[in-house]
């Protein structure tokens, strides 16, 4: 019976599509629709929203779209006269585009009154919700706050034989590395390709943004930057010797990765770790619950290492933005949902869902949260070090250029310095062309 109904659904949808074209718009019984990428937190949000439906009678549907096409599908949908979604859980970089192109509803006058913003982590608020950063103009409310961190093989690190071998070689205890130099030592130590064991898996994928997210933490830590956010001056910053040194170090680490280490997207990095071959793997904490489930005690988590005492971490996660292209009454329902979602009791529920990472400082700081899952402490410790890539409207061009040029450096097509010099020039061009750089 279910087969039959599942076969019928698209047929009905087809008819509905034709009917819509003919101007026979269907009745307004559509649930409040949220679009998010296809991953565990979206499942959590769907479960959580049942409480909202119970208390308000408003049905909520969290529609998940594969990561590979999520961005494209969202912006394609914004091209339509109206969007299928009322709320989009948009990536942090999108906010400039959403804010300035009339896609996201401006929440500046509503959000501070409806949500206790002081309770939110200021870094998260700045990057996920404000545009321009620090301007006090809000276009989103925090949904999933995320950071890049590391998972490691706790069982290997605890193995007495490994411990003594490490001590003999490096004259210190084998432990999750605190600095990038230590990180490299550990990677070298565990890298044994003949046994199909590899030192580390970093984010280097050439798809959407994983290489940039993987590398920029080193860029900042080494003292480099993508450019001056005030003047949009890039040349002289992105092509600095510090940046080249960071990229050079990042490239060196490729030698201690699994086959294809120079092109690992989030899924591949995850796979390298969960298939049991890699000692340390970089990824967003949002994947940590999955890792913990699959690997159990074998997996541990640690915060991004430091360089010269500086710890900088790529921000991840998404904010809840309301589509500017849906009717006002739907926008009001959406606001109701957002306000409800960000109340503390709901946030306390949120953290019980897989990868339901809140931005609520009080919850994050609580011992209960830190102890609730093996990765929570590392996540909480990461938040104050978060930074983000450019979130200007042309972020995607900047991202695409960076992915390409950094990739060329990893592939050995260009030296790190040459790749960064070219990238700086391209970024400067893009920002100038967009009318941002003076």
């Amino acid at each position: 019976m279910s087969t039959f109904s599942s076969l019928c659904r698209p047929a009905l949808r087809c008819l509905a599509g034709i009917a819509a074209v003919a101007g026979l718009a269907a009745g307004d019984s559509k649930p409040l629709t949220i679009w998010w990428a296809q991953w565990a937190p979206a499942d959590g949000l769907q479960q959580l929203s049942e409480d909202f439906t119970k208390s308000t009678g408003i049905a909520v549907k969290v529609h998940q779209i594969p990561w590979s096409s999520y961005q494209d599908q969202v912006f394609l949908a914004f091209g339509n006269k109206t969007t299928e979604f009322d709320i989009v859980v948009g990536d942090s970089q999108w906010i400039g585009r959403g804010a300035t192109k009339g896609l996201y509803l401006n929440l500046t006058s509503w959000l501070p009154g409806a949500v206790d913003l002081k309770a939110q982590n200021p870094q998260v608020l700045r990057y996920l919700c404000e545009y321009p950063g620090g301007s006090g103009n809000y276009w989103a409310a925090p949904c999933e706050s995320d950071a890049v961190g590391f998972s490691y093989r706790a069982d290997w690190f605890a193995d007495p034989a490994e411990k003594s071998a490490f001590k003999a070689k490096f004259n210190r205890d084998l432990a999750p590395p605190a600095t990038w130099a230590e990180f490299k030592d550990v990677a070298v130590f565990f890298h044994r390709p003949e046994q199909k064991r590899f030192g580390c898996a970093l984010l280097t994928g050439r798809g959407y943004d994983s290489l940039v997210m993987g590398f920029q933490q080193l860029l900042w830590a080494w003292g480099g930057s993508w450019g001056d956010p005030a003047t949009f001056k890039v040349t002289g910053k992105l092509d600095s010797p510090q940046a080249a040194a960071a990229l050079g170090f990042f490239k060196e680490l490729m030698a201690f990765g699994p086959a294809g280490a120079t092109n690992l997207d989030y899924g591949k990095s995850l796979e390298a770790f969960t298939n049991g071959s890699t000692a340390m793997a970089m990824n967003y904490f949002a994947f940590a619950p999955g890792i913990a489930k699959q690997m159990g005690d074998k997996a541990g988590f640690f915060v991004m290492p430091t360089q010269d005492g500086r710890r900088t971490i790529s921000l991840g996660g998404q904010g809840l933005s309301i589509s500017a292209k849906v009717p006002v009454e739907r926008q009001e329902q959406a606001k109701k949902f957002i306000a409800w979602f960000l109340t503390e009791p709901v946030q306390r529920q949120w953290i019980t869902k897989d990868a339901g990472f809140t931005a609520n400082t009080a919850i994050l700081k609580s011992e209960a949260f830190r102890k609730a899952a093996p990765y929570n402490a590392a996540f909480a410790d990461s938040l104050d070090s978060l930074q983000d890539f450019w979130n200007v409207p042309v972020y995607n061009e900047l991202l695409a250029a960076a992915q390409k040029r950094l990739g060329e450096a990893l592939d050995g097509v260009k030296t790190p310095a040459a790749a960064l010099t070219e990238l700086a020039k391209e970024h400067q061009d893009i920002l100038t062309d967009a009318g941002l750089a003076k």
Partner: protein, 304 residues
Amino acid sequence: MTTAAAPGGGGRSGSGGWGAAAVVAPALILLIAFNVFPLFYNLILSFTSAELGVEGWTWVGTRNYQRVFERPEYSAALRTTALFVFLAVVCELALGFVLALALHRRFAGKTALLTALLIPMMLPPAVMGLYANLLYDGDYGLLNQIISGFGVAPPQWRTDPAWKLTAVLIVDVWMWTPFMLLISLAALGSVPRHLYEAAEVDRASAWMVFRRITIPLCAPLLALAALLRTTDALKQFDIVMAITGPNDQATQTVSALLYQGLFADGKVGRGSAYACVVLVLVIALATVCTRYLDWLARRQGRGA
């Protein structure tokens, strides 16, 4: 010019007029609406700041075109495409022709073998591109397991920039060699037998027969095959998307770059300018192709 058919004269075959126009009009209107109109629309967009999802455009003059010629990615994508098309067509043609030579003679099971060889051509490139990732995987991929079996260190197909384009190319060659094989077989079949018999009488060597008879007589059809494949290979998008995604320096063909610009960056105006630049090349090629098809059809019509 034809005259309108007399009323009531609906049965006349020679007459043109409104009846005939009504028969062909729907197709022509559709083609104009979905091909000609968009082309002009595209041309207009190329002079604007149009963006995906953003209402209202402003005229920006030739700024989009300036960027097309200034920025490195455009010429890089053109070079990548040219290299890809050239390698794909040459490999497929050579392989297809060699296979056709081997398949040309009658033997038991020929039809079954030929049918099996033709299958890859009918498969969806997007799906085969995705599936290729399983075969290409550096760790568990079947291809590298086989290569390692020969004691050779296998390449990293999907991560080594020197091999990425090759990885795309192999899938394309796998899918489209059957096309070249089929046309080559037709070409070989069109060589009149009496020429071979005459050569036999003249005691010509096999190589001479091949060079002086087989190659020249097959050439027109092989050229057709190469032209058709060239125009198709220019559109290559599905396999690139599946194996490397649209934004990889090593495999960014014009289609991939355009996808990146239009749908990821949302820059419709600039993408349109780029499409116009590429279109000039495609129109030139299509013109050659249609003329050639016409010539070939007339040549066939004469009973060649």
